[in-house]
Amino acid sequence: MRTPFPTDAIRADFPILDEVVNGQRVTFLDSAASSQKPLSVLRAMDDVYTRAYANVHRGVYAFSETATARYDDARARVARFLGAPSPDSIVFTRNATESLNLLAYSYARHFLQPGDEIVITEFEHHANFVPWLVAAKERGIVLKFAPFDAEGRLDMQAFQKLTGPRTRLISFAQVSNVFGTITDPAPIVARARELGAKVIVDGCQSAPHMPIDVRAMDCDFFVCSGHKMLGPTGIGVLYGKLELLEAMPPFMTGGDMIREVGFGGATWADPPVKFEAGTPAFVQAIGLGAAVDYLSALGMPAVRAHERELVAYALERLSEINGLTIIGPRDPEIRGGVATFTLDRIHPHDLASLLDQQGIAIRAGHHCAQPLHTRLGINATARASFYVYSETQEIDRLAEGIERAKRVLRR
């Protein structure tokens, strides 16, 4: 028997979970959109602002030295958390969206030629969709979409056929934010190696929830967002193989990212600083450092096991509701902590409003994945998502809340 996951102790670290919403203690089931933050993260940032705040990489005085050391230390912690070989291969951005845009500008626009192909999937979040759409239009690059099957899994046969000698770049979500499907990067990376293509893994929904080892994965780039993994808003991560980051031109230019500036031109600093123009969100990075410490202390295999149990319970409990259809795989082994569904004759927005009135927060809409919903032939779905502080009682409250909503709407 493995030790039970310490949900009660964890919840004590998240005071926001005691808040009362519409007369009920909040049931927060929207962590896939953004997670709540433990006190240790808030305190780590508070500590910088109250005891050692000054701009990084600039001053030779104590505050600046301390802030810089903590910023560097946060980068090292994130590198360790993701299994990156060196902190220099970790670029801090605003969020995963910025990380992907950086790649669309500094990699795709620079290294791809007209007629080259980028392959993504039909279940991508807009963040891993629109930057490629725009880059493709601008540069005459061909954008291809690998389809998913009836259970929301990547159709690997179709993917193999879709990729070919002109494929230069493959980008996909390791965990779908709608289906929750966990896609094994191994066969995709293997195919990319055959073709000499590069692979970007969108880890927004994987890095917060399961062990990640970018070196073992052998992806070329990996992106994630701090605010989805217990960290603050305004901080995201781009991991890249160092030789690629070295070859890429800067994304944004300005202060901090230069080596030397003259009237006739400028030279760039080495990565990662080359990609961090201007004062970085270093306090947020320090907060993210505390967040990955919190996750590492719990152990990512244990986090994944906890969420697998929750999603298994949620799928079972929700399936008992008349008229409810689960979207995505039924097998919790290949499903992250995301329970997405539709209800007969009840629009997800109406359901979400009625649940909100009971203090239950779920997401309703297209979850920034309109192409996926177009493929499914529906406008919107409802999604409950789980994290380290989620517990089975909350899933019970959700199920009861849905039944109550059905009664109010006479469905």
């Binding site: 629009h347 997800p348 927005h349 109406d350 409003s353 009135q357 919107a380 109010v408």
Partner: protein
Amino acid sequence: MQDLYREHILDHYENPRQHGVIDHADITSEGVSPLCGDRIRVDVRLSDDKTTIADARFSGDGCIISQAAASMLLEDALGKPLTELEEMPPQAMLDLVGVTLTAQRVKCALLGLQTLKDGIRKWRAASSSPTFTQT
């Protein structure tokens, strides 16, 4: 918790007034909610002198609030001068709906009105003769 889904809202959703499409409509306008991807289409047939709304219909899929609001709007709009609808403030639409909505749901309630206003604006732009255009 019944506050939002009062009887009159559910009634308009279950028995929508002015639902459907109009063949050879003077104005056809489609609106989409960026929030949820819901779509609504509004068709309008104008009076012979083209100043009032002779008939108006809506179609599309959406949440109860967006559908019920469109139903209330078009029921109310029949026989009214176009200018009155063009100038109808969002608050008047919310008053018509008559329940307190959160900021996100306000967008649902206003989808029909925005789609109708868009349609009228485009119709005016297309039907205004160059002779009358101010230079």
